[in-house]
Every structure is written in structure tokens, then in C-alpha cells.
């Protein structure tokens, strides 16, 4: 919104209503190019400060409770916003021409927008900005991340040749870090904002601590993109440490809760802490907005491998059918696991390897082979049927299974001849991992299975 009477009225009204979201709208950079042009042209570098000051002061009476210091703070904020708007306009206009401009326009946008974040931080530190204005900080920080990525992409497209040359000559030069320069800088700026929220000692109801999960989520997304699990852990630890003086997690908006739980779950997953991962991801799933299909899909991408390991369950085909991407990713594997087709399982794992590795679920899914083997052995057990029934008693499954039968099944499943020693080894492993209960009698070449729950958790 250009800085004319309607803007000053909007500002004053938002202020008297104490409406953060409404005030935050005046700081949005994602407006039409035409609007941006109006904002930029409404003033020049000489008069912007004085006319903003005049305008805000004139309406200060309307915006009750707005003092001198705050006015000065907001003048600085809007001047910084105006500078940002000019940079964005320039960037949009230059990319409109031919796409390949010689100047790094988004780098300039990023610099201008970082300045806006800094001015806002100072507003909270020195000018008495209150916690209800936090949505302003959200809007500005959210776009800082976008601009950082734009700047990195632009630079990488322009100078990619120089970069790779440097990479080959220097061993300690990591081209990946250089590629993400601005995003890394953005992470540092955001972590200052995080501190700004966390260190507020005002009473809870008017504390910036209410901003902590929004900012933490932005930081987590940024660290994920930078591939830094350890920095992500720092955020979680820092939140845990401040836990006692924080508002209750359940009091935050669901969007923030679910986003946080998702990242917390994926982090636990990457650390192979599958029990915690399942808890967090299940919570994220249950509370997720029902229409956010992509986010539900992302949650399941980790929850499915997770449950395979924790309680050896597979998603139903009905569930997968609702998410074509997941169906493609998991259905072949799931079918092989269920049927016990070991060889086809290996093929399916190979087939999806790139996708699995990229999502960092490969190693977890690999563990599904044990479940496939368990199911295969279970089929042998089931196929052997029951002992001859004694009158009036419940039929009992035949629990002495020749190793040769297991060997035949395993050979069929893995599509290659497996000798008995190796089969015994696989069986011993299954028993050790508690997928199967019983013992091997080498003398007789049989496996004696437990009469109560030979395959724990599978109903037999």
C-alpha cells in the first residue's frame, strides 16, 4: 500500500484494534507489480522519512497508545520496507526482460530485506513494539527465506562455471556451502529473531514467546534445506530448555503445532529413534488440516517406513490409493513384504533406490526384508495346517516344521538355491529378533515352534 492517507488510516486502525495480522498486511512484499510501482513512486529518498513521520504522527491519536519512540520505530520499518519494495520492483522488472541479467538483482533484494528484519528487531528491542505485532515479524521473516533462495539460485545460475572450477582445485572447498550462501545467512538472521522471541521476559500473555514456534518452524525448514540435522537439534534442545517458562504447546495455532511435530518427527526418524518418530508423526498426522494433501503425503512418507520398523505394520492399499505418489513409492514394496517375495522385494528396493535415498528412507525400508522373510516363514507354518484334532479340544497348529520346508520356501522366495546351513542361519536370526518363537533341532532337521504365538504379533 502506498504511503498516503488510506495507508496511515489503515495503520492507525490496525494499531487501535491491536490486530497483528491486519498490520502485517502492510508489510507484504507479495503484491502486484503495479502496486509495488505505486509504493515506490509515491515518494523519493529525500522525503520518505519526513512524510512517513508526519503521516504516522497525525494519526497517532487514532492509534491510541502509540508513543513517540514507537512512531520513530515504525518510520524506520516502513522506510526499510520501501527500500525493499524498490529492490523487488527492480528484480521483477529485470527478470521480465530476458531472465539473464548481468546484475544479481535478488542479492540486492535479499540485502534490503535483511535490513528490514534488522530494523524490526530493533523496534522490539528499543522502541517498545508489543507482542501483538508479531505477525509483522512473521511476514517479513517468511519472505526473507524466499529471497535468500532466489538470490542463491540466481547466483548459481550466473556463475556456476567459476564455482565448479574452484571446487576441483581446492580440496577443502565445499561447493554446496557456497551454493547456499544467502540461505545460510538467512538462518543466522532467523536465529537472532528466535533469540529475540525466546529471551523476552514480559508476562506470558504479552510475551514474544508466542512467536517462538512460528520462527522455530521457519528455522527448521531452513536447516532442513541446508541439510543440517545438528543445527535443527539445537533448536529443539533450546525449546526444551526453555520449556518451563513457555506457553503450553497446545495453545499455539494448529498450523504451527503440526509443522513443528512433522520436523521433530523427521529428525527423530533420521536419528533412527523410530519410537519417538512414530509418536511425533502420528500427532502431526492426526492434527493435520484435512485438506492439505501434500503435507499429509509428506507425513506419511516417513510414518510408513517408521511403522514398518516399530510395529511391523503396512499401510492399507486403500490408504495408498489416496496418494498416487506414495502408492508408486511404497505399493510394490508393501506387496512383496506381505507375500514374502524376497527377490521381488530386492528388485523393488533397487527400483526405487534413488527416490528412497533422496528422502532418506532407504535404510529404514531395507529393514522391511526381515518382515518379508517372517511372512514367508509364517506362510509355511500356516500351510502345514493342524494336528489331528482331539475330541472337544481346540485344533492346534502343527508346530514342528522341517528345515527343508523353510529352505524350499526361502529358495523360492529369493529365486536362488539357498543351502540348509544358510537357512538355519536365517532362521536363527529370525528367532533372535523375536520375529519367530521356537528353536532349531539340528539333529532332527526340524524347527520346533512355540505353540502359543509362533510368530508374535501376527495372530498365530
Amino acid at each position: 500500500m502506498e504511503f498516503t492517507t488510506p495507508f496511515f488510516r489503515e495503520f492507525a486502525e490496525s494499531y487501535s484494534e491491536r490486530s497483528g495480522p491486519r498490520l502485517a498486511k502492510t508489510l507484504r512484499p507479495d503484491v502486484s507489480t503495479e502496486k509495488l510501482r505505486k509504493i515506490c513512486k509515491s515518494h523519493n529518498a529525500h522525503d520518505i522519512k519526513s512524510s512517513l513521520k508526519r503521516g504516522l504522527q497525525l494519526n497517532a491519536a487514532l492509534a491510541d497508545g502509540l508513543d513517540q519512540q514507537e512512531v520513530q520505530g515504525w518510520v524506520d520499518v516502513y522506510v526499510a520496507y520501501w527500500n525493499g519494495a524498490k529492490a523487488i520492483l527492480a528484480a521483477r522488472e529485470s527478470s521480465g526482460d530476458d531472465g539473464q541479467s548481468s546484475e544479481l538483482v535478488w542479492t540486492k533484494v535479499y540485502a534490503a530485506w535483511t535490513e528490514l528484519v534488522n530494523v524490526l528487531i530493533r523496534g522490539y528491542q528499543n522502541c517498545g513494539f508489543e507482542a501483538w505485532t508479531l505477525p509483522c515479524l512473521y511476514v517479513v521473516c517468511k519472505h526473507l527465506r524466499v529471497f535468500a533462495s532466489n538470490a542463491d539460485d540466481e547466483r548459481n545460475n550466473n556463475t556456476s562455471i567459476d564455482d565448479s572450477a574452484a571446487a576441483t582445485f581446492q580440496d577443502d572447498f565445499d561447493p554446496e556451502t557456497n551454493k547456499r550462501q544467502k540461505l545460510e545467512d538467512c538462518a543466522r538472521v532467523l536465529s537472532r529473531v528466535f533469540m529475540l522471541c525466546q529471551s523476552d521476559r514480559a508476562p506470558l500473555e504479552e510475551s514474544r514467546k508466542w512467536g517462538i514456534y512460528y520462527i522455530a518452524n521457519l528455522l527448521l525448514k531452513t536447516y532442513f534445506k541446508l541439510n543440517s540435522a545438528s543445527l535443527s537439534k539445537n533448536i529443539l534442545n533450546s525449546l526444551r530448555a526453555g520449556g518451563r517458562d513457555m506457553p503450553s504447546f497446545k495453545a499455539f495455532p494448529r498450523s504451527q503445532q503440526v509443522t513443528f511435530k512433522y520436523h521433530q518427527g523427521v529428525l527423530a526418524f533420521l536419528e533412527e529413534n523410530y519410537v519417538d518418530a512414530e509418536t511425533y508423526l502420528t500427532e502431526a498426522w492426526n492434527d493435520c488440516y484435512k485438506n492439505s494433501v501434500r503435507n499429509k503425503e509428506l507425513i506419511l512418507t516417513y510414518l510408513i517406513p517408521c511403522r514398518l520398523v516399530t510395529n511391523h505394520t503396512l499401510p492399507t492399499e486403500k490408504l495408498l490409493a489416496q496418494y498416487p505418489r506414495l502408492q508408486k513409492l511404497f505399493l510394490p514394496l508393501c506387496r512383496c513384504i506381505k507375500r514374502g517375495e524376497l527377490h521381488k522385494f530386492d528388485l523393488a528396493l533397487q527400483e526405487g533406490e534413488d527416490e528412497f535415498v533422496k528422502r532418506r528412507i532407504y535404510l529404514t525400508l531395507e529393514r522391511g526384508r526381515d518382515i518379508a522373510l517372517r511372512n514367508l516363514l509364517r506362510k509355511v507354518f500356516i500351510a502345514r495346517g493342524f494336528e489331528e484334532a482331539k475330541d472337544g479340544e481346540k485344533p492346534v497348529r502343527r508346530s514342528r516344521v522341517p528345515v527343508a520346508e523353510f529352505a524350499a520356501a526361502i529358495s523360492l522366495g529369493s529365486q536362488e538355491r539357498i543351502d540348509n546351513d544358510e537357512v538355519e542361519c536365517l532362521l536363527a536370526n529370525m528367532i533372535y529378533k523375536n520375529h519367530m518363537k521356537g528353536y532349531i533341532s539340528r539333529q532332527h532337521g526340524i524347527v520346533v515352534l512355540s505353540k502359543s504365538g509362533a510368530f508374535p504379533g501376527t495372530g498365530v
Binding site: K221, Y289, R339, K358, V380, A383, P402, E405, A408, S411
Partner: protein
């Protein structure tokens, strides 16, 4: 000597291949990573009834509860039965 030379050549080739590999996928994943990110929700907060858990239906049948085959007609099950029969027959002989 000859073998060590071919070894070097092989290494060169492998290095060249890995370099090509390293460069080729650079373009693609960037775009993919982009939509791998957890998205902003269209709304800030929502009621219990708009959560996945409460939307019912789907919530009931997320996970397979039984390991018993619904379709015993699949090829593999049939083959397995045949194999087991063969083992049984061999033993009786």
C-alpha cells in the same frame, strides 16, 4: 605394469563417470527439493473437526491389521504350496 596402467585407466573412467554423475543431477533435485518442503497451511488454525483424525472414514483403515492373504490366488502363494508339497513327497519316499 600393463595391469597397473589399465587400472589407472579404469580409475580415470570411473572418476569421469562419477563427475558426470555429480554434475548431471544438480539441475533436477533442486526443483524436486523445492516441493519436498512442508508447505504453509492455507489457514493458521482450524477446529478439531477439520483435522485428519476427525475427518473419519480414512482414519479407520490406515494400517493393515492382518497378515493373512486376502488373495490366496496370487501366483506366489500357489507356487509356494507346490514347493512344499514336493518337499513333503520327497520325505515320504
Amino acid at each position: 605394469m600393463a595391469s597397473s596402467q589399465t587400472q589407472i585407466k579404469k580409475d580415470d573412467k570411473a572418476a569421469a563417470a562419477s563427475k558426470a554423475e555429480a554434475q548431471a543431477p544438480e539441475q533436477k533435485p533442486a526443483a524436486l527439493e523445492e516441493d519436498d518442503e512442508f508447505e504453509d497451511f492455507p489457514v493458521d488454525d482450524w477446529e478439531q473437526e477439520d483435522t485428519e483424525a476427525a475427518s473419519g472414514g480414512a482414519a479407520q483403515h490406515l494400517w493393515e491389521e492382518s497378515w493373512d492373504d486376502d488373495d490366496t490366488s496370487d501366483d506366489f502363494s500357489a507356487q509356494l504350496k507346490e514347493e512344499l508339497k514336493k518337499v513333503d513327497a520327497a520325505k515320504k519316499r
